[in-house]
């Protein structure tokens, strides 16, 4: 069967939604949260590559390389924050982070 552009777009939007919903559905663990952020980026990458392929224009794929790099850096910082949170609160559940409000 022929996979069309819209199939890719639908796939990526589904992944995107899973990522978004995951962020506010999950409440136990910040690591899950980082994973959801990754999912969003993966959806974006899928979009870019699909467009790039069907447009026959390589700049989309170049963009993806950069996104991957940034994502790696982002996760590194996310994990660092996570470690600090554990040191301060003794937990990595997001439930503990509600002292700033109002």
């Amino acid at each position: 069967m022929v996979v069309s552009l819209s199939d890719y777009l639908i796939l990526s939007s589904i992944v995107f939604c899973i990522g978004l919903v995951g962020i506010f559905v999950n409440r136990t663990n910040i690591i899950t949260l980082l994973m959801c952020v990754e999912l969003i980026l993966v959806a974006v990458n899928t979009n870019f590559i699909a467009f790039s392929y069907f447009l026959e224009n390589e700049s989309g794929q170049i963009f993806v390389f950069f996104i991957l790099t940034v994502a790696a850096a982002e996760v590194a910082i996310g994990l660092a924050i996570l470690t600090l949170l554990f040191r301060n609160k003794g937990s990595i559940s997001v439930d503990v982070t509600n002292s700033l409000k109002g």
């Binding site: 506010f24 559905v25 439930d95 982070t97 509600n98 109002g102």
Partner: protein
């Protein structure tokens, strides 16, 4: 001439700067000498300018002094427009300011903030000059804000008094409402004329004709917005609540700022804008009705006050109402005439009140005074002149201006003018009643002063009594001499425009014979008998049968209660203005960060978007999720909007 105007305007500023920055080094005597000298120079020059422009009919001076910003077509300059209107205003402001400066020497003698006070009132004088001499809207607005700022500073001058601080906050807040209306009005003026210069704006008024905004003429909208500004400054109902509170400030500034000059800025501004207001009967009607409401109902409140300054404050509100009524019926020159006489006699009354207050060691309750006539003769006679002028006793200056307002209303063709006429005639009775009630209670009758302070009671020092006497003279006679030139012989011609279909001024000039004839004619008019009635009523209730007053209070408790609670305006103000804002803020604060997500969004979305909602409901513990949810929910709303709305509907709005 340009240099004369510059010196006139700047000399109080220089005085203020010297007093403000070097005052502590110079000492008290030097400070008051310098600031008084500054204002004295202004006063002398103001007499000269008055003579040049008004009496000798000199050329109108309209020139930009300094260009300050020029961005595209927006040109903001400091410029002077000196015509007869500003010349008269300059004279009034400088003269009253000079008297108040002298008076302050005696009044503030024991105050630690002596130097600061002088620097503030000189600064105020400068700002007021800038306001009246402006030739463009921007400078007008700046002067407007500057006088306001000094006024807040001075209301809160005794900031160790909690009530003074609150009053100054209240004045600031209420004036913001007016100011933003004013600013929007200026913005709209700019949008149709492309200029902020008076003459350019007035000559391009044709552009604005036939333009509509919110179902009204553009001109009407502009006039109403500008009038909102005037309502704030000139304390018209419902933006009047700050003026009685402003009595927390020292008495000299009550006389200068809150009676004679700043509060009349709104009246002055509307007169300046007369070419615009003349084009809108709707705006004029609103002006007239608001003025009448203020004149009548604020006078009523004066009857139940027991604080000597509050009585005078409510009387100021009521008189400002009279001026506004005059504006509404297109009798601008009468409004300016009343502004002028009022400046003298109301400043006089305030200074008399201050003299009494000082003599009684800051006792302001009139029920604890009485019989002061013997002990303070100069104050007594000055207060008598002021009171007679205020109630419009024939021959005194207030008589001419107020009678002319009442007559002008009588001739007005505007809708509701007949009702307004009744209101202003009834106002005469009320004015006479509360003024003489206060006068009798304070100066006549039995002394209710505690014996220990009665022992030291004596007339105030010369620095206080001198201004009283000097102000008493114009309060008594100025009306007689200037009524003819100011109203009918064209002192204000050119500065003020009256549309041909507003005929009250022409009718007035047909009826007018001479100032002396008015006195004899007065006996045949209802206002005179209303005034006599008011005097008699005041005498009965406050001297002859004082128990009747108590009986009336008993019998008409509900009315008394309404008056005493100031028609609930303060309460309303508290609830609507401060309360609602606070509550709304509180609500939104909860809603936007906590409540909306927890209670409204999460719970109701359970019904709306079943799946997401039921999932979300399980997880309402950590706030990050809620934030994220909020973002995504907003995203969904926006996407839906984009999908279905087509062209952006908000732009229509």
């Amino acid at each position: 001439m340009e240099n004369i105007y510059l010196i006139l305007v700047l000399s109080p500023l220089i005085g203020a700067i010297i007093a403000g920055f070097f005052g502590p080094l110079l000492g008290r005597t030097a400070v008051h000498s310098i600031t008084i000298l500054g204002v004295l120079i202004s006063t002398v020059l103001a007499f000269y300018v008055f003579n040049h422009h008004v009496l000798e009919q000199g050329e109108v001076f309209n020139q930009n002094i300094y260009t300050w910003m020029q961005i595209g077509n927006l040109d903001v300059s400091v410029g002077f427009l000196v015509d007869n209107l500003s010349a008269i205003m300059l004279l009034v402001v400088s003269f009253v300011s000079l008297m108040v400066h002298i008076y302050t020497i005696g009044y503030m003698a024991d105050d630690a903030g002596y130097i600061k006070f002088f620097s503030y009132i000189s600064l105020f004088t400068f700002a007021m000059f800038m306001l009246v001499i402006a030739n463009n809207f921007m400078q007008l607005f700046f002067g407007w804000e500057a006088v306001g700022l000094v006024s807040y500073l001075l209301i809160g001058f005794w900031h160790h008094k909690e009530s003074a601080t609150e009053a100054s906050l209240k004045a600031f807040l209420v004036n913001r409402v007016g100011d933003f209306g004013f600013l929007l009005g200026i913005g709209l003026v700019f949008s149709f004329s492309g200029s902020l210069d008076y003459s350019a704006v007035f000559s391009s008024l044709d552009n604005a004709l036939n333009q509509q905004l919110w179902g009204l003429d553009l001109i009407t909208v502009i006039c109403l917005l500008l009038f909102i500004g005037a309502m704030g400054k000139s304390a018209q109902v419902p933006l009047h609540v700050w003026l009685p509170g402003s009595m927390e400030g020292p008495t000299p500034i009550s006389a200068l700022i809150h009676a004679a000059t700043m509060v009349t800025a709104g009246i002055f501004m509307v007169s300046r804008m007369s070419p615009m207001f003349e084009l809108s009967d709707i705006a004029l009607t609103v002006v007239m009705v608001v003025g009448a409401i203020t004149a009548l109902f604020m006078g009523l409140l004066g009857i139940v006050q027991n604080d000597i300054k509050k009585v005078v404050a409510y009387s100021t509100l009521s008189q400002l109402g009279y001026m506004t009524v005059a504006l509404g019926v297109s009798a601008y020159s009468v409004a300016i005439f009343h502004l002028l006489t009022h400046a003298f006699f109301k400043a006089l009354l305030f200074l008399c009140a201050g003299s009494v207050i000082v003599a009684l060691h800051h006792q302001q309750d009139i029920q604890k005074m009485g019989g002061l006539r013997k002990k303070m003769p100069i104050t007594y006679w000055s207060a008598l002149v002021g009171t007679l002028a205020l109630i419009g006793f024939p021959g005194f200056s207030g008589f001419y201006s107020k009678d002319m307002i009442i007559e002008a209303v009588n001739f007005s063709q505007l809708p509701y003018a007949n009702w307004v006429h009744y209101a202003v005639v009834a106002g005469v009775f009320i004015t006479a009643f509360y003024s003489l009630r206060m006068f009798f209670i304070v100066f006549h009758g039995k002394s209710r002063i505690p014996p220990d302070s009665a022992k030291h009671l004596h007339e105030s020092p010369l620095s206080i009594t001198f201004p009283l006497v000097v102000l008493a003279i114009p309060s008594a006679i100025v009306g007689y001499f200037i009524i003819e030139p100011i109203l009918f012989n064209g002192w204000l011609e050119g500065a003020i425009t009256v549309a041909p279909n507003h005929t009250s001024m022409t009718e007035l000039s047909h009826r007018f014979q001479s100032a002396s004839a008015m006195i004899f004619h007065a006996v045949q008019t209802p206002p005179f008998w209303m005034m006599i009635g008011g005097i008699i009523a005041a005498w009965v209730f406050s001297l002859y049968k004082t128990q009747w007053a108590d009986w009336m209070v008993q019998k008409f408790r509900p009315i008394y209660y309404i008056l005493e609670s100031l028609y609930g305006f303060d309460r309303l103000n508290e609830i609507v203005f401060v309360g609602t804002v606070k509550k709304l803020g509180n609500l939104l604060w909860r809603v936007s960060d906590v409540g909306l997500i927890d209670k409204i969004l999460v719970n109701s979305s359970a019904n709306l978007i079943g799946v997401i909602g039921s999932v979300v409901r399980k997880i309402q513990t950590g706030y990050v999720y809620h934030y994220a949810f909020f973002m995504i929910f907003s995203l969904l709303i926006i996407l839906t909007w984009t999908l279905f709305a087509g062209d952006s509907p908000l732009l229509e709005f």
